[in-house]
């Protein structure tokens, strides 16, 4: 990057079905944790990713509301939206704010309060991340879109339902070691295959859950971080951002996530790293098939060979390329706007060697990959322990 940026504070709210907490309370909880963790006495600006507070909570104008309730006075506050990649986008915008010299200490956050509507309301809100007129109009749901990706991956490359299930099993194993996970239960392949089918071939245990939650990180220039000296320094060394066709059916290869590939290449180039230099990954496993396609798009596995990644143990926390040590969206939960920031929180936790049972040995470089819709948007960040 043109200028080194450091992550000096991280925070999560509780994640789950938080009936007693409002959207604003959840966000403030995460932000307070991050500010306390960083030790800073003020922030200069804030960026918050949230996919659809309008549809979930009848609340827009989130930027002012959240700055108000965070008690930070009149600082510039911005809400950004890129569907489920809103958190990742907030991270990018916070970095750009610092790089431009406009702000010195910036909060990047994400929040989604999804249980103030019923499951149907949540399904409709999430569907707005697809092409409403040409996908949703026909009756397809988000699980349906990813199910069609899965079907094609199975037809083309011989990937099996068991291999999909292994992704969920692995991520729930990781989630069982994360006290913040919404669903920390360990599961096995039979449990996935015997769970109710949502959209063939995806079962409910192939899908990430509906979650209330927020995440926040505090960023500043590396120079400022050296002055503060509170934590081992974590540096953001690369970021990538790309888009793809909105409608899944418009893509030449339905199983290829080209926005992921492009964002990954950009971020790696910026950081001067190769994919083999990355010690651990937090990727957007909104559905089990997504993790498989993402690992292929990032170049960790050849095209069509990602199916066996989880089953082989390679992507376990103790394997050669740990993926989703937090439990991923699958077990940790997926409050859509918060996910991109929570991925940063997990990588920082690992790079600080504070991940407890699920700690990856010798973790020095981590990558986050956050995706919107059926792959229409993607943000990638690379973080390094200095």
């Amino acid at each position: 990057m043109q200028q080194d940026i450091a992550v000096i504070g991280i925070g999560l709210s509780r994640w789950g079905e938080l009936w007693e907490q409002s959207l604003r309370d959840i966000f403030v909880e995460s932000a307070l944790h991050a500010i306390k963790d960083s030790g800073v006495d003020h922030i200069d600006s804030m960026y918050v990713g949230s996919m659809s507070p309008g549809l979930f909570n009848n609340q827009e104008h989130l930027a002012a509301l959240l700055a108000d309730y965070l008690g930070v006075g009149s600082i510039p506050s911005t809400r950004v939206e890129s569907a489920c990649a809103s958190g990742g986008l907030a991270m990018k915008m916070a970095c750009l704010d610092i790089m431009s010299g406009t702000s010195e200490i910036v909060l990047a956050g994400g929040v989604e309060k999804m249980t103030d509507v019923d499951t149907d309301g949540a399904t409709l809100a999430l569907a707005s991340a697809a092409d409403y007129a040409y996908e949703v109009y026909q009756g397809v749901t988000f699980p349906g879109l990813y199910a069609m990706i899965a079907r094609m991956h199975m037809d083309k490359y011989g990937t099996t339902e068991q291999q999909l299930a292994e992704v969920a099993v692995k991520n729930h194993l990781h989630g069982s070691m994360n006290s913040m996970a919404q669903f920390p239960q360990k599961i096995n392949v039979d449990a996935v295959l015997n769970s109710v089918v949502i959209a063939d071939p995806l079962h409910i245990l192939d899908c990430s859950p509906i979650t209330d939650g927020a995440a926040a990180v505090i960023l500043c220039s590396a120079e400022k971080a050296r002055q503060l000296k509170l934590h081992p320094q974590i540096r953001i060394s690369g970021l990538g951002h790309a888009t793809d066709t909105m409608a899944l059916h418009s893509r030449e290869d339905i199983t290829a996530l080209s926005a992921v590939e492009k964002a990954g290449i950009t971020a790696l180039k910026m950081s001067g790293k190769k994919i083999d230099d990355i010690d651990l990954f937090e990727v957007h496993d909104c559905f089990t098939i997504a993790e498989i396609c993402i690992l292929e798009a990032l170049g960790l596995f050849p095209k069509g060979k990602g199916g066996n990644a989880a089953a082989s143990g390679k992507t376990r926390f103790d394997g050669p390329m740990p993926v989703n040590t937090s439990g991923g969206l699958k077990a940790k939960g997926h409050p859509v706007g918060a996910t991109g920031i929570a991925q940063i929180v997990e990588i920082v936790t690992q790079l600080r060697e504070q991940a407890g049972e699920r700690q990856v040995k010798n973790a020095r470089v981590g990558l986050t990959q956050n995706m919107g819709g059926s792959g229409g948007s993607c943000l990638v960040h690379i973080l390094e322990a200095v």
């Binding site: 007129a133 040409y134 026909q138 990706i149 959209a199 409608a247 899944l248 339905i254």
Partner: protein, 129 residues
Amino acid sequence: MAIPEYWREIKHRYKLEAGKCKSCGYIVFPMRLICPKCQNQDFDSINLSREGTLITYSVIRVASSRFVNQAPFAVGIVELKEGVRILSQITDCNINELKSGMKMQVEFRRIFDDGSSGVINYGYKCVPM
């Protein structure tokens, strides 16, 4: 569904009206202002053929409230003869016997109703040939 929102899509949903780029020949469906391949802005209006091939599919078992009375139902991505792909329901078929590569006919069908006094929404669905 607002009447204008419905009305302005009729050319696509009833007639499969598409645009063929006058510069590179790429076909856009629905119609758009700029060719995504060559950025040209001039198109010939064409009607897509009503025959195609099933590329991938799923069976929606948990549907949104609008479609809940139709579940389970099949959806798929169908490549029409011109190479254009559409996403639609696959209907009048055994949902357990779908296979990628099946030949499909595009038909004019009712998609959903907006309640007893709302718009009846029509469009295209595919049927195995």
